[in-house]
């Protein structure tokens, strides 16, 4: 048998060829885009008509059939109660949040649902935003598979930089439901910067201004030799082109009321008015004026609008983005004059008003040589390639919002401030306020304001088992960890006694593990096989790693073994290899344990030799030299 050997630290991604394709997905409020990268060349995957944009619209037919994209959008006027659009605005939202959003959303919400995640009533079904997003992602996956003739099972999915933890978790859950392993959640402006920066060898400080259908993000990045370091990010997770559509539609409807008197407007008519408003908005980017028709109760009416009128309607939105940009410049601690370029992302940046505002704030003409609809997906595809094949580029992102804990009096104590580079782990100590207090409620919040009710509740949990002590004597250490996806985990421990308790945080607006498991079961015919396969793949990666590690050790220290001992280890390796081929996870685990047992003495002798070498003095430096930079 020939052994495969590799240079230390340079082991290739294991058996890449066995895996399906990894793609980049921009899951947008209005449209979604999927792209793939090969050797740094990127391609947006298109339909037969050459369209890269897949409308993020889902049609639920009476027979249970699900249609996504352009065809679903066509059904909007005919079957408004069976079509869902702009669902991204509901990701990670709770029923409480909707009090502020109600009336601006083209959804019928299931009011019966108590607390927790929002639910939609569509075509007689009750659906979570996660499930609707999963339906969109399934269609995106299918398009990619059709275009590439290959299974697509992994993806980098982009999220607005300003998405909070609940919305990020919801997005990741949606991808899992759609049968996609999320390699990484990447912030949309960062993905855009990656695509733009690599293409143009950009160096220096750049701003990404991303105004989409439902979200606004602005990020300031330093690009340098393949490193994309986010200095500061800001935004508003419910501010976008949709808001302008609403303003136009309201104006058209008000004009009708002035002419025809008050009318009762059905859901379908409202959606149709919104559709007309959208067309008007888009047309007025290239034309100075035009007129559009809406229909209520079978009676059409014609509405005239000029670009100046549109801009007057859109001005408040544009001003809000200006304010957010100023804050971000301040957070980044930079001067406007240091900025080398502004990259525009999102369809709404096609509006001449927005382009003028951007120029006003940054004193620069925005870079217009990129397609604002596709640049995010292209960046995601580049990152997907970097994560699976490897690359020299590096994305260093930050937390968009401060994370903290509720303390006495409803005040939020910040644990991780916004714009902290991720991954990050920070701890804060709290104490008890009553003698003999043995439990403590921990309320995790996200946001910039001082008071609990002004911040967003992420999770609540109770730390139990605090030893009986006087008030103020216990030292409860709460650790917040944010990973490279921007996802938070919280752990708490009592420091004086060392009583440690890892607490699983149940998100306030997320799906519980049970709900997720049920959805996986319901949604995928082969859900169980799928899960089992994923678990097996993870075990196989682990098994291959141990075999490679033992082989590497044998290469250096085989003189420590007798022939018989060597034979034992070789056969244990052989068994691991065999079980990997067998597709039996338990067998692999057993073979790995056997390998560990077979190499125990070998490992001890290697450690002895290492310590003796260290004692000899000379070799310590040699070791350091070999292992250091």
């Amino acid at each position: 048998m020939l052994l495969q050997l590799h240079e230390p630290g340079e082991s290739p991604a294991p058996h890449e060829s066995e895996r399906g394709l990894a793609v980049g997905i921009d899951l947008g409020t209005t449209n979604s885009v999927v792209a793939v990268a090969r050797d740094g060349d990127t391609e947006v995957l298109r339909d037969a008509d050459g369209k890269g944009l897949i409308p993020s619209v889902v049609y639920y037919a009476a027979d249970g059939e699900i249609t996504v994209g352009q065809d679903a959008r066509r059904m909007l006027l005919e079957y408004p109660d069976r079509v869902v659009s702009s669902v991204k605005r509901l990701m990670g939202r709770g029923t409480e949040d909707l009090k502020t959003l109600a009336g601006t959303l083209p959804f019928k919400l299931d009011v019966a649902a108590d607390g927790g995640m929002v639910r939609l009533s569509v075509a007689g079904r009750t659906l979570t935003p996660v499930e609707v997003s999963a339906d969109i992602l399934r269609a995106v996956k299918a398009r990619a598979e059709a275009a590439q003739g290959k299974t697509v099972d992994r993806a980098v999915v982009t999220v607005p930089a300003y998405f909070d933890d609940a919305a990020r978790t919801a997005t990741k859950d949606a991808a899992r439901l759609a049968g996609l392993e999320v390699l990484r959640l990447v912030n949309e402006p960062t993905a855009a910067a990656l695509a733009y920066g690599l293409d143009n060898a950009a160096e220096g400080l750049y701003v990404v201004y991303d105004l989409g259908g439902g979200t606004f993000d602005v990020s300031i990045l330093r690009m340098e030799k393949g490193v994309f370091q986010v200095k500061a990010t800001g935004g508003d997770a419910s501010l976008g082109g949709d808001d302008i559509d609403h303003a136009i539609a309201e104006r058209f409807l008000a004009e009708r009321t002035a002419e025809h008197g008050a009318e009762t407007i059905t859901e379908g008519e409202a959606k149709q008015a919104l559709a007309a408003a959208r067309v008007a908005k888009e047309c007025l980017s290239s034309r100075r004026e035009g007129d559009w028709v809406i229909e209520v109760d079978g009676k059409p009416s014609r509405h005239k609008m000029t670009r100046d009128q549109l801009e007057a309607l859109a001005a408040p939105l544009a001003e809000r983005t200006v304010g957010i940009c100023r804050n971000v410049i301040e957070d980044a601690g930079i001067e406007v004059s240091e900025i080398k370029g502004v990259v525009l992302v999102g369809g709404s940046t096609r509006m001449p008003l927005i382009r003028r505002k951007v120029k006003d704030i940054f004193g620069l003409d925005p870079l217009a040589d990129i397609n604002p609809d596709e640049v995010v997906a292209v960046g995601a595809a580049l990152q997907a390639e970097a994560l699976t094949i490897g690359s020299d580029t590096l994305l260093l992102d930050v937390t968009p919002l401060s994370l903290g804990i509720e303390t006495m009096g409803g005040i939020v104590e910040k644990v991780i401030p916004r714009n902290t580079p991720i991954p990050v782990a920070m701890a804060q100590e709290f104490t008890t306020y009553q003698d003999g207090q043995t439990a403590m409620a921990i309320h995790v919040l996200q946001g910039e304001r001082e008071m609990v009710d002004q911040c967003r509740s992420l999770a609540r949990f109770v730390l139990r088992g605090i030893p009986n002590m006087a008030a103020g004597a216990a030292r409860i250490r709460v650790t917040f960890t944010v990973d490279a996806d921007g996802l938070l985990t919280v752990a708490a421990s009592e420091a004086t006694t060392g009583v440690e308790q890892q607490v699983a945080v149940k998100p306030s607006y997320g799906l519980t593990d049970d709900e997720m498991a049920n959805m996986l079961r319901d949604s995928l015919v082969h859900a169980k096989d799928d899960m089992e396969q994923r678990l097996f793949a993870e075990t196989a990666v682990e098994a291959r790693r141990s075999v490679l590690a033992v082989q590497a050790a044998l290469k250096v220290d085989s003189d420590l073994l007798s022939d018989a001992e060597r034979k034992d280890i070789d056969s244990a390796i052989g068994r691991v290899d065999q079980t990997i081929a067998s597709n039996d996870r338990d067998a692999v685990t057993a073979a790995m344990e056997a390998l560990e047992a077979a190499t125990k003495t070998f490992a001890e002798r290697r450690m002895d030799r290492g310590i003796r070498a260290a004692l000899a003095g000379v070799s310590v430096d040699k070791l350091d030299d070999a292992l250091g930079e």
Partner: protein
Amino acid sequence: MNASAVAAVSPCWSCKGPVATRALFCSVCGAVQGPGAIDHYSRLGMTPSFDIDQDQLQTQYFGFQRRLHPDRFAAKSAREKALSQSQATALNEAYETLKDPLKRAAYLLGLLGHPVDLTACGTINDRELLMEQMEKREALSEATTPEQVAKLAMENESEVIACQCHISAAFNSGNLDEASHLSIRLKYLVKLAEEARSKKSRITRLP
């Protein structure tokens, strides 16, 4: 057995052989190691000093992140992913501490066995500092135009720079009491700068 020699090597979690405690990767099997308990300067390959070259710091930080960031381990085993996350987290903490003059001064004082607590918001013991800060705060609260605030901010900024120079001199002459004293002053100057910034944006944004 010689304790330092034993401490210098520990078993690699992956191949179980000896690996230098400070090593990032095992030289035999190539597996990434845990971040280990080393100081922020060593972690980023910098010499412990208050005076640091920001460009060099950034280059070192980028260099280490290129090798250790979780993005480099996306296709690896769960254990390697978790270790790279701890490594990248430790690098971020080291970088954020050393990048900022105030955090760097406090950290270096702790490293040199002369800890100063900058998080405590207790009273100012130093009469002179107290008077100075009260006057400045009053001037800031009385300022009504962006220009007035900008002027105060600029004056404060030059004091921040001067204070950093004095801290550097104190460290270089080994006067840690003085360095500690000046760090507390720097903390208040930095705080005032923040307040001036937020006041400036507040009054600039009024219609």
